[in-house]
Symmetry: C2
Subunit: 524 residues, 2 copies
């Protein structure tokens, strides 16, 4: 069903770039042996990637189709790289949403597994992105994001939430011990009637569908965590639990070294350390897993202070749409040696605390995730795909070809330039008639997967711009902040010491000598 | 009473700098004839000035004496350049506030008038700074600022306020005609009982002392404007009224040229144009009035996108303290040919609408303001001076000498290095004992006035850093925003056309042919 894709419109520069970065491994390995050279190339390449689009402030947000004081300053509205395209998004010109389901639904129920990623990868993606890509359910043109990677799933979006999650003793977050391991405390006093424990009243507005549809037995296992979606799936809860343990571990370590610090200072400093530790893992483990290149980026924030992209973060509609990797989540998983439906891992924290954190990280790292692209979305997530397309229409996104052009990729003229998959070509033609009519979201995910890469090319291009410019503008990485004063000498050491998610897991499980597999990489 | 100041600790670089910029007028005049050279020097000098302190983000705010996620992100707390100095601010080490009044009180009731500035200058200062330097009356460590020059005195601090001020017709602000001139509408329905008109309910939280102390007859003349202090003094109301008229004039102009625009777009675009017009006047008329230099800075935002100071604005305690120019306001003024107490111009809008905007601008530009410094504060403002010193203590400001050192000025060792005024030296010595004990606020204003300069040197140095980095980071001046698309071609023309405050006044008075004097400059 797949024949060669027509690459004539890929763009010369793109081809050269891909060729250079995915070949000459000996060269890339060599230059990375020299710290100075590695850092210099790191700066060069990150700038090369981020400057592919002009930097913030963007003239437009979802506030209005023209620039206003509010569109420039009110981040409750979502940013956007290109202005709205009302012409393109006229309902009668676009296929019906239901008709588009066939593009995402699995073919003959067959799952395409990722050659590169473990199941831990989509677990991380959902947890990580939910911290900053947050559509406001009350008005989908708005958002509830803090526009920073601040670990809001762990600490909450607002100070009032954080206060409710803190034990106010030794800087620690509230927690409980189950089977000898530390977890967040339970949330509900009366799950049947949707009543939170008094200490967690008003912690956040719960999702309506959780109130109405999740059975009380499941809710009785809900943990009190930072955001309304935090209990959604065991992967999310695993990562939140890991952060809670690390936060509390850091508090003990700091208290030991700085006995005169009060609860407040211990809390704030542990949080500073944890946020930066996660940022480091994001750049050095997660990003390098996603890309197919021989060059490993490093989390070195120091050389960018004079870059024009060092501007206030503002999450964009585009960033949100290129980051919807629903197809990466398999329909089934192996849990304790049994194959169970992924759906049964939703809102089910007992699956985590019955087995323990180490065992579940091990398991998620020992089975594959799925390939990101068409014909590979689990049935229970199909409505989410269609909702994403619909959101693209509500926000009046410009076309797939407009976005290609915006980033200096040639406009495509034929469906076989998007994908080599003959059936995808046929369906796209049937649905859209002309390549010019293809919607942004559909075009993104219709592009062919690439060798040794987790995502297709246009997604990679666009995501890199927002991702690097969001991570590296984090205020904790700023020139006068990223130092021992902010994290304490002991905290600074902890940051240096942590290289991988595996490091984090292994110091936060009961038996420190037990080795678990903790990796995004199937071949690791 | 004045003998020569000991200049041995002024610092060599400072001396050279002052010498170069206040001499060689022929050279400066010559280079400014060439647009390219003028712009190049403008960039060079603004950078030179702003880089005297390290750029934002500052590690500290009033949130805590150490760096935390909140101190880095929550702008309800006020920023600060130097960390708090609790040691220095111990009550027993500092003179009592009441004892310090003698430093600010006029000597034998004698006012020192400014050789350079008209009364319009302090009028502008109060109006302009109230838009962004805003201490929160509920918690003086916090602020109510939007941290941008957004003309909040005109448009309000929040969207809900703006909505109440808008007529929702043709983009205009609500207004009324008195004696054939346009003014904001009256605010109160029942001034005796402090009840606003229904349409203005909840527009802002009124000041307690206005509620309790200002008589109902005065309140019946209050205008509905953006902030709780907007009716405070006729100078403030003059500038707000001018902006209202210009906004509504721009709306007419835009509506004429873009007949299909709705109220919303007309409003937003007029606001964009007006904000940038004011920014231009700030840099090109106001800043150049303040400094004694032969070089005229220009409002050219284009060359700074790669500067590391192009970071999110955050008002600092220092910026607020160096900008308290209470002594610039005389005790009396000439109004309609009569000398009247300045106090009688407080909360008294009838003084404005009885005479008209042009006449009052003319009058304020035809009489002097006062010199900024010690021994020159009007009696009714003495409590405000002492409150400022007290606020410096609450925010635990480092010493005057610490701030000198921070900006590479030598620490002073003797009181005669601060000022040549013998009585000031004697009083400072009596109050503080050692120069090292002098508080930031007191030291700032104790420095000798300089020839042809509105402010002493350390104030100028510190204010320039925050001022330029606040003005030039305004999102309306950003690379992809500062263009015809944002302001419309007609609006862009209006911005280019406006050079001075006088231009603004003359197009917003009933008789366009009448010439008024509108200037900060006594010798203009």
């Amino acid at each position: 069903m797949t024949r060669g894709r027509d690459t004539s419109r890929d763009g010369f520069e793109n081809k050269v770039e891909q060729f250079l970065f995915t070949n000459f491994k000996f060269f890339w390995d060599f230059v990375q042996q020299f710290d100075f050279l590695h850092r210099w190339l790191n700066k060069l390449l990150i700038n090369y990637v981020v400057y592919k689009l002009p930097p913030r402030p963007h003239p437009f947000s979802t506030r209005s189709p023209y620039t206003s004081w509010e569109s420039l300053t009110d981040r409750l509205w979502t940013g956007r790289h290109l202005p709205p395209a009302p012409e393109f998004n006229q309902e009668e010109k676009l296929p019906s949403l239901d008709d588009l389901a066939v593009l995402f639904k699995k073919r003959d129920g067959k799952t395409i597994f990722s050659e590169k990623s473990t199941l831990l990868f989509p677990y991380w993606v959902q947890w990580f992105t939910d911290g900053f890509l947050r559509v406001d359910p009350e008005n989908r043109l708005k958002n509830t994001s803090n526009h920073e990677i601040d670990l809001s799933p762990v600490y909450g979006l607002k100070r009032s939430t954080t206060e409710k999650l803190r034990s106010k003793q030794g800087g620690k977050l509230k927690s409980q011990i189950i089977n000898g391991e530390e977890y967040p405390p339970f949330l509900y006093a009366d799950p049947k009637n949707n009543i939170f424990k008094e200490e967690f009243e008003g912690i956040y507005v719960p999702l309506r569908r959780v109130q109405e549809e999740v059975p009380a037995e499941k809710k009785s296992n809900f943990f009190a965590m930072g955001v309304e979606r935090a209990n959604v799936q065991i992967g999310y809860v695993m990562l939140n639990t890991l952060c809670l343990r690390e936060h509390n571990r850091l508090c003990d370590l700091l208290a030991e070294n700085y006995p005169d610090w009060d609860d407040e200072r211990l809390f704030q400093t542990a949080r500073n350390i944890l946020v930066v530790t996660i940022l480091k893992i994001v750049v050095e483990e997660y990003v390098n897993h996603i890309t197919p290149y021989h060059f490993d980026v490093i989390a070195d924030p120091t050389p960018f202070s004079h870059e024009s992209w060092m501007r206030t973060n503002w999450m964009t509609v585009e960033f949100s749409l290129v980051y919807r990797w629903h197809s990466a989540l398999p329909e089934e998983l192996i849990y304790d040696g049994q194959t169970i439906p992924m759906e049964s891992t939703l809102w089910s924290n007992d699956l985590l605390y019955n087995r323990g954190l180490g065992a579940l990280f091990n398991e998620a790292s020992s089975q594959p995730g799925c390939q990101i692209g068409l014909f590979n979305t689990a049935d229970f997530l199909l409505p989410v795909e269609l909702a994403s397309i619909n959101w693209g229409r509500q926000t009046q996104m410009a076309s797939y070809n407009d976005y290609r052009e915006n980033i200096n990729h040639p406009r495509l003229t034929n469906f076989d330039q998007i994908t080599g998959d003959v059936e995808a070509q046929r369906l796209l033609k049937q649905l859209y008639g002309e390549v010019e009519n293809v919607e942004f979201y559909v075009g993104l995910y219709a592009e062919d997967p690439r060798k040794n890469s987790v995502i297709p090319l246009l997604i990679e291009r666009l995501i890199a711009i927002d991702a690097f410019s969001v991570v590296l503008t984090n205020p904790l990485l700023a020139p006068r902040v990223f130092n021992e004063n902010t994290f304490s000498p002991v905290g600074w050491q902890e940051i240096q010491k942590t290289q991988t998610l595996s490091d984090l897991v292994h110091r936060n499980v009961p038996d420190h000598h037990q080795r678990y597999r903790v990796t995004f990489d199937r071949s690791a």
